[in-house]
Subunit: 404 residues, 2 copies
């Protein structure tokens, strides 16, 4: 799969149309016998989305490709018009985004597990007995205040949840070609962090020094006395929506990972909504001044993971009720879709295609309301996620003709 | 078109789910006035396939790409998840597979026509009067027992049918960058076999020597007194289904070419079915112990070539009657499709998209039975053949998430 076919000189830079992308995380579903064979979206009472769909172009999206189950990072990059097989976000970077770290180009990040080492230095518990958040935060604070910083570099920890911690190293010339130290079993020593390519040697030294210091500083801790590290990744700046498509953009998302992925592509994050209603309110305040607004709603995915069909239906209906406030801002293009499917009967992200509606004055409506059945009969057909941005730009009048 | 997006580390290796691919060769059809505008598949009475389709995801496959009429090799490679524009099987290799030769990496193969040369050495008949199989086999045996083998190489012939013969050269350092010797007209001399790239010079010498020997040995034959050679190709090993997707695989196919293409991707061929019923019986015996089973049924294609609409309908109905025996083995994923269309009204392979059903507990059924009309309204939409394997692996729970 290649990036979308958009030569830079095809994009109007001075246009004043506005595009809104509403992502219901994990929107796509599977039929449920108790709902008469309907999916979550089909079972939900969504008068506003249905009316919007009936004047929209409909279709089904493969966020990454047929059969491929997207993680949240690739799913969103795709909707933003970035080929997720080309723009790879490493696990360490995604974890850093997830805890809200404001990454700089060249930063090295990794996922750490707090672990218990026995008196012989062997790994006794890879998750340190799953400590409480309070316990986890306590030792992270202890380390951040005690670590000796390597010359020219800044090493810091951010607590995520329970035993999970994010390591950030900032400085010049860091590589991420490093081996994990997690042996993936207990009763053995942790592994050495080694550079597997030139350019990562200094990173390896810094990580080894950090891990040794941590063992020293935490020596008096009974359980939380060391770390296992994996998923090393450096953050590389990627071209922004402004640079690629001339779009000033804003992201409204409650959860840090989604704000983080949005920041990767240059979106502004003016404020953090605490709930669904605030997401819309902050959009009303900040969206109309920008060319592109991204609104992220998480509950559909969460309920899908829980296997809670009715809960996912409720989450969809909650957004439906708020839709008129988005429509009131009169965007030129309004898209509603998901970053992947999380069918309640499957309880996980899945590979199934995701319904999408694209409302604009240039839509080709096919009717039937908003749901998988209507969308697979829609004008847009089935297409890769990266093509959505090209469609949005086109409907917004932001693309010029290709060729003479 | 690229190969399907399946980084190696996305495939679970230890999984115990089972995938079955049933290929009705040339399945796709065209509407026929005498059948009320229905296709062969739509006209066939297929209660078992229809019931299966109604709980399956349906779609339409372009085996190679829109407008492209696939040969049997590319059509099957595509269904196996191998981009047929990347994995090219040369004509000589396909012919060798077709006569059941067990190819080794580096083997050079070509298609030969038995031809008649006149006393001036000009080509009098490019097909030697289309000899009987008995006559063809007779001269092939004569040559195999009389040829002087070049030092370090093994040259052998296998009779295919009538005037068609396969040449195999085995040894180190053979190239296939050779010109054909068939002048494509009569009353002229045959062409010289020349190397067109470095590395094929030795091959050219061996072929020229073989052709000269054949003329000598067959000098006393009135009609079958020489060969025209074309389609030189070397056999290169390609990664197996086991290596790429962790799949142990078995092929049940009556005809050698399909067993040959299956062997190319590492499938085992435990036994050779002599008819449709035996194909299913051998699957019942050998399939359940493997992760992937490929069942090939030829009659649909043969009847299509014959322009025999009703015969193709019968061939489809024969498979339908055997379907319950496949379902009884409870595969996790069962796919039924074709490697291309062979519409009876067209009498040839065609470029038309091919209906496919994919049954699994995670399907998104859309109903309407099994036929072109139902499949083009299906959840899978229209997609390239290479994506089928990704979908199968996903439905079998054999893929991990793409990115975090």
């Amino acid at each position: 799969m290649t990036d979308l076919i958009l030569p830079d000189d095809q994009v109007h830079r001075g246009h004043d149309t506005r595009i809104v992308l509403v992502v219901l995380d994990g929107l796509g579903g599977l039929p449920h016998a108790d709902a008469g064979g309907r999916t979550e979206l089909e079972a939900a009472r969504t008068p506003n989305l249905d009316a919007l769909a009936d004047r929209s172009s409909l279709g089904m999206i493969d966020p990454v490709g047929p059969g491929i189950t997207p993680g949240s990072g690739p799913g969103h990059l795709s909707l933003f018009g970035y080929d997720p097989t080309k723009y790879i976000i490493g696990r360490g970077v995604l974890s850093a985004l997830g805890v809200g770290i404001d990454l700089h180009a060249g930063d090295l990040a990794a996922r750490l597990n707090l672990a218990t080492f026995d008196e012989k230095g062997l790994v006794a518990d890879r998750r340190a007995g799953r400590p409480s958040d309070t316990q986890g935060r306590r030792v992270v604070d202890k380390l951040n205040s005690s670590l000796r910083q390597p010359e020219g570099f800044e090493v810091s920890l951010t607590h995520e949840k329970e035993h999970r911690v994010v390591l950030l190293v900032r400085g010049e010339g860091l590589g991420a070609e490093l081996t994990d130290t997690d042996p993936l079993e207990e009763g053995v020593p942790d592994l050495d962090c080694r550079a597997t390519a030139p350019g990562s040697e200094r990173s390896a030294e810094i990580v080894r020094d950090f891990l040794a210091q941590a063992r020293e500083i935490l020596a008096d801790e009974p359980a939380l006395n060391g770390f296992l590290a994996r998923g090393f990744a450096t953050y590389e700046r990627i071209p922004t929506l402004q640079e690629r498509f001339g779009l000033s953009a804003v992201a409204l998302a409650k959860y840090p990972m989604y704000r983080g992925v949005a920041k990767l592509v240059g979106m502004e994050v003016p404020a953090i909504p605490l709930n669904v209603e605030q997401t819309v309110a902050l959009y009303q305040k900040n969206g109309p001044a920008r060319a592109f607004s991204f609104l992220h709603f998480k509950d559909t995915d969460t309920k899908g993971h829980d296997g809670d069909f009715d809960g996912k239906v409720d989450a969809i209906e909650e957004i439906d009720a708020l839709l008129p406030r988005i429509l009131d801002t009169e965007p030129d293009v309004l898209m509603v879709t998901g970053d992947h499917s999380t069918p309640a009967v499957y309880k996980e992200h899945s590979w199934h295609a995701v319904p999408v509606l694209l409302a604009s004055r240039w839509a080709r409506p096919t009717g039937g309301g908003f749901g998988e059945s209507a969308c697979r009969r829609g004008d847009l057909g089935r297409f890769r996620g990266t093509d959505l941005m090209a469609l949005a730009l086109a409907h917004a009048g932001r693309l010029v003709k290709f060729g003479a």
